[in-house]
Symmetry: C2
Subunit: 143 residues, 2 copies
DNA sequence: TAATAAAGTTAGAATACACTAACTATATTC
DNA sequence: GAATATAGTTAGTGTATTCTAACTTTATTA
């Protein structure tokens, strides 16, 4: 597909907005992305041109089937990273969110797959003994 | 300091070039960064303006003390990430290099500190028992 | 040393992303 | 339903990064 970072962020924002609002609007996306409405407008216009969303003027924004698939892909990548930062490194939600957002465009599929497996591995370790989890938390939290 | 990504990359490339060549030249940086010489030229010009390097026309490039300090900082961040991708996820050197390069600008100090501690924690786990390492490798390598 | 090759520089253009200011359309409310 | 507020749009601008093409300087070599 080869979407730019901005467009991927926009798709992800639309996906999240759908869950919070009955209709997705420029305003919500601008808030969620932390940019001004003209920036969102440009991104949505481009996504429309690419056939990933539909957007009637002054109306709400909807995915096309292809757009939704793309958005889900982006979001999946994001979640793996978010999980790493919160669950493993124990970082606050907002920091984890920021980190994941900045990074998600810079990891190829294979690296993400490895990371995902790594997370599962650590989960299984934690289940085996909470000694592991406890020691990890101590190491990361100490001053 | 607030250097742009490109300038940070450039500082890092200069640092690495120093180790390989008696003098650092535009040509080397261009190869190392994978960009054309005019791009390097512009970056070096800006680094000069910022007092981080010295560069006489058609000559070689040298750090100022401040420039070297900045470069070392950038490189330190890079190394933590590189270590994570090679040592933990077991990714090839070139992929790890790319990943680290793309990501290093998107993690704050605290996140990197946590990651660094996490790496040390895993190292100590591996030393305790090579069961840990073996199982991790198996999990990550399986088809 | 004159000709050629290599390296470095400059100018100009393109893409991605963000902004402000000004304008238009829709919604709200008196 | 007219006045106002909110949301959306358009036009123009700025920064960061990259490129190509053309030119200049330095190095090589015949």
């Amino acid at each position: 597909m080869g979407l730019t970072e901005g467009l991927q962020d926009c798709l992800k924002a639309i996906l999240l907005c759908e869950k919070k609002h009955p209709f997705v609007r420029t305003k919500h996306l601008a808030q969620s992305l932390g940019v001004k409405s003209p920036s969102v407008h440009a991104a949505v216009k481009e996504l429309t041109r690419l056939g990933l969303v539909e957007h009637e003027s002054y109306g709400h924004i909807e995915f096309t089937p292809r757009g939704r698939r793309e958005a889900e892909l982006v979001y999946t990548r994001h979640k793996v990273l978010y999980r790493f930062f919160t669950e493993i490194l124990g970082l606050p939600e907002d920091v984890s969110e920021n980190n994941a957002c900045g990074i998600e465009h810079h990891l190829d599929e294979n690296s993400l797959e490895k990371l995902s497996r790594f997370l599962d591995f650590l989960d299984s370790k934690s289940e085996e003994s909470d000694k592991f989890t406890r020691e990890l938390r101590e190491t990361l939290d100490e001053e």
